[in-house]
């Protein structure tokens, strides 16, 4: 994932959203379209045979390389690979094959930091099982444009872009697998709707993102897995660089997401860095459910809901964050920001902090949910991170420098005798009940980190750019409301207004100043403060806005955000 900063025309949208916000009405929170269970959608037809042919192609006994066995195979064959190091980039264009290693930890495909993809599949129904890919310059295991895919008991180490990856593919499963050392994401499902895909029982560590899902929508489940020591954990997102935006109807449930916010051991680029330290980020994502996850000691936040600014502004909205257990977050457990975020809600979370401060009260899935679009208190941090990356302040790793796992991973049950099943009708064949997912238990002895020093939701130790953007986009408006509000009230009730304004006028302005933060103060300064001349009032208000705007836009420009 990478946030691109192209200028966009959004004034009209923004103004409309503000009007909606100001005219907010109270109502029940919207339920996400995908309430946690599968939606009924059709799966396209697969070109793969649905059953094994009974033919086994042995590598290296019958064929010296994996590629030669694949090239000789008929649709539906099994490619059985003995232990060894295979210095290949395998291309699979025959449907319905099953590539199986006899030992996950000893069947190793080695890219030697020169080959692009370990196993690259462009045929329907191909299953890859029980092997390791290491040191590829692009992806470890990669399915592209297929109907039906499955990756089981796979290990991807130092695949430089993505570890285990499905693009423009539907009806899939990644399970019992591991990925580390990718600057973008360990696991990635991109550009599909409906995806009809499940990522379950996987571990991702030391990646830019544990999971990234750009424009992957509908029946997209990321569940029952562990995401640790990445720059950020799970990041469904919307971008213009792939088709089918926006991402929507994703379910993130039952995961253990902890200690994300790596600075020295996880490679990353600007967009990954912008998500720094969060367990889950919904970036320009709609109608998505994040529930029953355990999030511990993430350096920034547990769940962060923000809009995505790419060539297009992609607001988040309609997301449901409920029943998660979140603790030890550096900034806050729950965060929501805009611009233009609207309709997401929170409920039942075991969390102790949020930005803005009362998310579960004012945006409750089961009660009041103000239909207001949220501002930049939360978003200032990712914007500041982009500026850090632009100025080279995000620590970088060379390809291959991330920590290596011990190759002692679980094997495919049944080994050589395991049933051979082409990846056909994968999603419908799963014995998968999302409703049965529960929140993981906190491991014994886990020490919970203290919250980092923050002022009004801005982490003081986050670095120059995040603090600067937090100050400009949040502290300044907040101070205008607080200090300006006191000034206005004193003017009205103790100063010149006591004689020049009637009681009704003073009550009106008091209500405005208190209930409509910042705007109320500015309106009073411009129209209600008759003790000042017109020129002074105009100069003060317009001058203040111009100075603030110039400083903010200037900082964004110098920071390289735009």
């Amino acid at each position: 994932m990478r946030m691109r900063q192209r200028p966009t025309s959004m004034a009209a949208v923004t103004l409309a959203a503000l009007i909606v916000g100001v005219l907010a009405t109270f109502g029940p929170g919207p339920a996400a379209a995908q309430d946690g269970g599968p939606l009924s959608v059709d799966t396209p037809a697969s070109e793969a045979p649905s059953a094994w042919t009974g033919e086994t192609r042995n590598v290296p006994d019958d064929y010296p390389t994996i590629q030669s066995a694949v090239d000789a195979a008929d649709p539906g064959d099994l490619i059985l690979i003995q232990s060894g190091v295979y210095k290949e980039a395998v291309a699979v264009t025959t449907p319905g094959l099953t590539l199986r290693g006899v030992d996950r930890n000893e069947v190793i495909l080695d890219g030697e930091f020169t080959r692009p993809n370990g196993v690259f599949v462009t045929a329907d129904g191909v299953a890859v099982e029980n092997m390791t890919a290491r040191s590829y310059t692009v992806n470890g295991f990669f399915w592209d444009g297929v109907v039906g895919y499955r990756g089981s008991y796979l290990t991807a180490v130092d695949a430089w872009v993505y570890g285990i990856y499905a693009f423009d593919s539907v009806d899939g499963l990644f399970e019992h697998s591991y990925a580390s050392g990718s600057w973008d994401a360990g696991f990635y499902v991109g550009q599909c709707n409906p995806c009809n895909a499940v990522v379950t029982d996987v571990v991702a560590e030391f990646n830019g993102l544990g999971y990234s899902g750009t424009n992957s929508s509908t029946n997209m489940f990321i569940v029952n897995s562990e995401w640790r020591h990445n720059v950020a954990g799970i990041v469904p997102n919307t971008l213009d660089s792939e088709l089918l935006p926006p991402a929507e109807n994703v379910v993130v449930a039952g995961n253990y997401i902890h200690h994300n916010g790596e600075t020295e051991r996880a490679p990353n680029r600007a967009a990954e860095w912008s998500a720094y330290g969060n367990g889950v980020v919904l970036a320009g994502v709609r109608d998505t459910v994040v529930r029953n996850n355990l999030m511990v000691n993430n350096r920034s936040g547990g769940v962060q809901v923000v809009s995505m600014i790419d060539a297009t502004l992609w607001p988040s909205g309609g997301n449901e964050v409920r029943d998660n257990v979140i603790m030890g977050s550096g900034r806050a457990d729950l965060l929501m920001g805009g611009p233009a975020e609207q309709g997401s809600c929170f409920a039942g979370n075991d969390a102790s902090s949020s930005v803005p401060g009362t998310l579960e009260l004012l945006h409750n899935c089961d009660g009041i949910n103000l239909p207001m679009w949220y501002g930049l208190a939360t978003s200032s941090d990712p914007l500041g991170r982009i500026a850090q990356a632009h100025h080279g302040q995000n620590p970088q790793l060379e390809h291959g420098d991330a920590p290596k796992p011990e190759l002692r991973f679980d094997q495919l049950p049944g080994g050589l005798d395991a049933e051979v099943v082409p990846a056909v009708d994968v999603f419908n064949s799963l014995n998968f009940d999302p409703a049965a997912l529960v929140t993981p238990e906190l491991p014994d002895g886990m020490e919970i980190d203290s919250r980092r020093a923050t002022i009004f939701g801005v982490v003081l130790g986050a670095g120059f750019w995040p603090v600067l953007f937090g100050a400009l986009m949040w502290w300044v408006p907040a101070l205008v409301w607080i200090i300006g509000g006191f000034w206005a009230l004193i003017k009205m009730w103790l100063g010149s207004g006591r004689e020049s304004m009637g009681t009704g006028a003073r009550a009106f302005w008091t209500l405005l100043v208190v209930a409509i933060p910042v705007l109320g103060v500015l309106a009073f300064a411009l129209l209600g403060n008759r003790g000042w001349g017109v020129g002074r009032r105009l100069g003060t208000v317009a001058g203040g806005i111009v100075v603030w705007l110039a400083a903010t836009v200037g900082a964004l420009l110098v920071g390289g955000v735009f």
Partner: protein, 133 residues
């Protein structure tokens, strides 16, 4: 400070910011000149193009990862001139001097069927028609 207060304050900030950024663009624009083929993730857009001899086609990398442009028959390979793959936001251009059909692929995101010789994945076709003689 209440959440409502924070919302309104932040909303004002965002409004000002939005006005500052307004009028600058309208998101992804697929060039309609007929002389641009974008490298997105992980497809060329458009993936079929017809040009005339002498035309120069631009290949901007609009994606978030590296890409390249290679002719199946070996007429051109963008990596040679660039010295490697094209990073995001980089553009490579090629002037077609002969008529014909050019099938191209990205070596990072396309694979060849070794039995048929067909490429799949990130592939495209450019047809070059004779000039206006």
């Amino acid at each position: 400070m209440s959440g409502l207060a924070k919302t309104c304050a932040a909303a004002l900030s965002a409004l000002f910011l939005a006005f500052a950024l307004s009028g600058c663009g309208d998101g992804v624009v697929i060039d309609d000149s007929g002389l641009v083929m974008g490298m997105f993730d992980n497809r060329y857009r458009p993936d079929v193009l017809t040009v005339t001899v002498g035309d120069t086609v631009e290949f901007p990398n609009e994606g978030n990862v590296d890409h390249n442009v290679i002719d199946v028959d070996g007429t051109f390979d963008s990596r040679i001139e660039r010295g490697g793959d094209h990073k995001p936001d980089e553009t490579w251009a090629y002037t077609f001097t002969e008529p014909g059909t050019f099938n191209i692929y990205c070596s990072l995101h396309a694979v060849k069927n070794n039995n048929t010789g067909e490429w799949t994945g990130m592939v495209a076709t450019i047809t070059v028609e004779p000039g206006g003689q």
